[in-house]
Symmetry: C2
Subunit: 155 residues, 2 copies
Amino acid sequence: MAINEMTQKECRELLARSRIARLGCALDNQPYVVPVYFAYDADYIYVFATLGQKVEWMRLNPRVCMQVDETNAAGWASVIANGRYQELAEPGFVEERARAQKLLETYHGWWLNALAERHMKSPDDLAIAPVFFRIHLDSITGLSATKIDAPLEPV
Amino acid sequence: MAINEMTQKECRELLARSRIARLGCALDNQPYVVPVYFAYDADYIYVFATLGQKVEWMRLNPRVCMQVDETNAAGWASVIANGRYQELAEPGFVEERARAQKLLETYHGWWLNALAERHMKSPDDLAIAPVFFRIHLDSITGLSATKIDAPLEPV
């Protein structure tokens, strides 16, 4: 394996073409990791989720770490970013929420629709109301690995 | 989407057939998430890694969270486990390290070989010496989602 540090451009390209991240948060030094659907745009990733432990924890401690990777025949690439949680809560953040919704609908419309449908069926269940948030990316690093004898394909 | 809690048996079956986990650790309430190769056995997952931030952090705070998932045409399943870091450091842990090495070689031999090869080429570089550790799994939970109109396949 040849392991190399990725450039900032390569890291951001991977974020731009990825759809699922693993998001880590922490409370009282207990880490918690969950998969999330996201959309990357400039210095942010936009995420929607249902209310639950991760949102509750990030409200109390906004420091998060996200990890995104991909594999192919030639090897793998993994990007890790540290950032800060910002909830796009009503009534503020009108523009930001619209931006998040537009970006996320492009890739994850089926999931938003499924949530909306469930919410319509049981409107009293706050737990399935979607929460929009974004993570401001403070630092981004990445490693890519290529098998020495692998065909020369971009990772 | 029909979302269901997985049984303990289902969670452990997913761990048993998975090879990559996302491992979260935390220091001073800053989370850190990395992908790791692992092998599951009873109440432990066994992992090897090179020395670096995650090992340094887990030595200082052994509380970790691991997340494993899989997707197929019918939906997805995700398991989250909280546990505690235990380094299988020499000269102790002779049996445990042998057990870890045997389990990991079964699935990840190519990676162990690649590490050994790099280590032989630059034996002074401690950073690429493999570190074996295990995580004692204290609690395991999982969710599986099946698309309503998906073919009836096991997730």
